[in-house]
Symmetry: D2
Subunit: 332 residues, 4 copies
């Protein structure tokens, strides 16, 4: 296509609003023309702020744009993605692609039937400069063979999870995508345990096993109180690499030296979101996707399903390999 | 104005190329239409890369755009800024505004005569998120009254300075602008000394005195070899605040734990450059400037002139206060 | 007793030599009078260095001192401890107390029969200032209820382990003692897995479950190559606390900023060893022990046995509770 | 001598008490037999605690011991040191050796007349492991040629200084000794300035010039409120080295990640004090001193006198070189 890409955003909560503002201010070559939300007032307020119109329905929005972002509640993702595939519109769908593997599979099947990849899944960390540098260190072989990974994913307060399976399908799903990507390795089994024995089990401690044998520990804690914190350490036979905390200013006051730990994942990964949207926009103009696609979204949902089973069984649950359609073989 | 802002970039060296790429990819609402460089091949290559045309002369570029960036060699800044003022074009002029205070004064006088502020000076650190957070800590009063500042500004190798006065007028000028801004205080005297007694004195150690009495030490070292490093610690009566190094990944290998220190100020301040360009573009559409203006550029040049005198005398040199024209009273 | 405590050291390898030098130079109120080693030349050299005599046999050494340190190879610990109990001599026995739980139980039984605690076990970390500060934070309730612990224990090269069970009984045994002590909690089950499937499985990843339900991950890696590294992070419902690396000097050279990571656990825990010996000497003068006693040594051996079983089974192995003799109820 | 060294401590304030406890508990080969203080009750309490007697006068203490520590108020140091020289007793005299250069010179002259070095001056940092590692990095040539040093010396609250000259003679005197020792360079001039213009000028900012031309900035701030903090960064032509803060535990709570900064220089330099006392005791048994001697104390007092002059003049004040007596040429 020539000219600017007309884009829309469905869902104007915290994530959708952030994406809309980033598209309006920091992504070249796109024009944010429409937003939509079930809460029409909220959609209207955001539309006015960013100079877009508020579409009355998702269908109306899809009809009037070249490409769109899905940032509405998780259970709506699959139907919106299917609608986008039917309309031939490139999409950036927030993670998770679906709340279960079957839903994600329907999106994959629809793309295969259409013969096109149109859905990019919002695994933002693949665009985060720090995670990319970490991957570069692994890829360069500086660490030797990777043996163990330690990952931590904490939120100050649980804002979205309604049951503890959601910690796996909504939060841990980031690590279920990021760690195989970082290691270039396939996830073969997941085990999820918890130190608390109650209806809502938080924190959760997962162990992941990869095709190479490498093991990962993943702590997810959505009520960690002190702030938002994402840590990753990769341990290889020649050394280790870990992400630094993202502080910018150290203060020394009243007997303490330290930095702020905020509770805002949008700010924490602001660079990642911006770079993700920019790369998506470039790909969308070409009618395709960049980075994590529907297949990656499906694979993460399959792994999350194993995690949810393990949360109940307490045992290793296999991540059964599935055959990748030819559509998803290219561009990797 | 309505529609997109047509912008051009004069000077396609490291800084100008970086600005052009950022404008093309990461700033909304602008269209990079032209670049120019004395080296026509270099200009053409960049123009092709970013989808702009290569203007044959600065004058031609200025004529065809709505606003432009001056990133050509320092001695050309004044004439280009004067041309921009004459043409009524908003500009972002890389620091320093001029190589001496007289040159900067001519730009100020031209703006006063024109009755408009059109020149924004590229004191990028005012847009850097870390420096902004540091300023927020000072402004909030968390540190009590500021007494002392320790600043360090190191480059791995000297790429641009031809004599040691240039360390003051080209490198230290960042601190001469940033520290008064951080403290909300006026610089009253400068003293510059060096541990080496030779023609090209590097490193240099400056002491700054502010209106409140506060003192700052500023080390500038353009052949520090190990990398690019900018540090600032502010010491107040209730505590201190300092900038953290910008590492993202820590590796532990072969008996060492640590992070990379790169020699790339464009990468180091990438966020600042992008936010600076975005804010400038918004202001330029409104026909004005954002943040540091020609007056700030002139004041920094006056301070740098005192620094150069001190480099010769070894004594405190006063930064003589000058009366600020009414044009520069607004918007602060 | 009055006068100085005459002490001896059995075993003059790296650990025994370090203890001997510390006793000779940095512990008040003791006189290091004798050392012994199977390697008589090595014993003689150390004896000359520290101003002691070289005893021809362990029995001769025990006969001539008031108290002694056992730093000979692990399989000799039990017999030497039994000899010490028989002779009524206070001892500091390097960890582990025994290579298996049965051996440790024999020492406990001998003390119970004698009606005295004479054996202190060298779980040095309980004396390390950093671990003590970490425990103080936990005990103060600053972290709320502890949910998860992440521990890492790496050596550059394996110097002592002959089979991979020794990683549990010789290295991980530190964490098997330290973590229950830090948390004030009882260990109820251990699971040990490894990313490598070969005869000598290294690294190993253990999961520990405590009486409160809290979970701990423990990575032991004796061929980590880059250096000696001990990390502990405690995660509670109100915050986290972790140990800082022990660097003292940061250098910035050649594009890297960082600190040395040495491969010397004696230097790493030098303060802990000195404080341990000083506290032991004070207790020994009073005819008793300080801190970890034979019961603690036995409990750690029981936990290690569960770990070794799990290394074979891959399953959770219970740490079966055993009744604590009355002798070990006092002084806790 | 054979047998244990009988030592006494004059002055039982914070410093003297700490030294007495360290001598009693952590230094081998010495017997702390006597303490003295003008406050007889305080002396008696400490004597009882450490198992020594309380001497009625300094003279009585000197008469009954083999060697002694001077930790009484600064103005008493010279007379006590002269008494020690007259009695032929090795001494460890807390810094400063004297409150002015003339007093220190009298001690030097007395030693020269006696033909023996008996006075070691308590420049503890020379024994601090971190400062020693920093010196090792400099000595190894890792930094190339040293050009600039940045030093910071902060106390939470001023506990001892009665006028602002005391910041130079009592606090900054540490840096006046440490920096020449670290650099192996001679101090040639001192300049002391302050951001506050009042009777008690605190903080103070000193600039030091060395024989090689190297410059150092030294901030002394005795009312920094947040805690005790000592920082040193050495900048050379090939890199930099700096001391790490001495935290051991990082906590993350309530939106902050950080470490404690305490206000206790005795705890901060506990290792240094212990190693200093141990080295002193070994030397004292041999009738001499270890490390910084009366000449070093005098040289520091000469530098401090230049600093006090500069605090009044605001100008560079030369540290006039003086000829070193032959007595002080050996053992360096």
């Amino acid at each position: 296509m020539t000219g600017r890409l007309r884009v829309g955003v469905i869902g104007t909560g915290a994530m959708g609003s952030a994406h809309a503002r980033t598209l309006a201010a920091s992504v070249a070559g796109v024009e944010l023309t429409a937003v939509h939300d079930l809460d029409a007032d909220r959609a209207k307020a955001l539309a006015d702020e960013v100079g877009a119109s508020a579409a009355p329905t998702p269908e109306a929005l899809i009809a009037e744009v070249d490409a769109f972002v899905i940032a509405s509640p998780d259970p709506t993702h699959v139907d919106l993605a299917l609608a986008g595939v039917a309309a031939g519109r490139p999409m950036l769908c927030e993670k998770p692609l679906a709340v279960d593997a079957d839903g994600a599979r329907r999106v994959v099947d629809a793309e295969v039937a259409a013969g096109r990849r149109l859905v990019q899944v919002g695994f933002t960390r693949r665009y985060d400069p720090a995670f990319r540098e970490l991957k570069a260190v692994v890829d360069a072989g500086d660490l030797g063979e990777v043996r163990i990974v330690h990952a931590v994913h904490r939120n100050a307060t649980n804002s979205t999870s309604t049951d503890d399976a959601t910690l796996v399908t909504g939060s841990m799903i980031h690590e279920l995508d990021t760690l195989p990507w970082l290691l270039g390795d396939r996830l073969v089994a997941v085990r999820v345990e918890s130190p608390v024995d109650r209806a809502f089990r938080d924190p959760q401690l997962a162990t992941l096993r990869f095709g190479s044998g490498a093991l990962a520990t993943v702590e997810v804690f959505v009520n960690a109180r002190y702030g938002y914190d994402v840590q990753t350490e990769i341990v290889g036979t020649a050394g280790t690499a870990s992400l630094e905390p993202r502080s910018t200013v150290t203060t020394r006051r009243a007997g303490r030296a330290g930095t702020a730990v905020r509770d805002d994942f949008v700010a924490h990964f602001a660079d990642g979101y911006r770079l993700e949207l920019a790369a998506w926009a470039v790909a969308a103009r070409a009618g395709t996707v960049d980075g994590p696609d529907a297949w990656d979204g499906y694979v993460a949902n399959v792994a999350a399903a194993a995690g949810v089973r393990s949360l109940r069984s307490g045992e290793w649950e296999a991540v059964v390999p599935v055959e990748r359609p030819a559509l998803y073989e290219t561009g990797r």
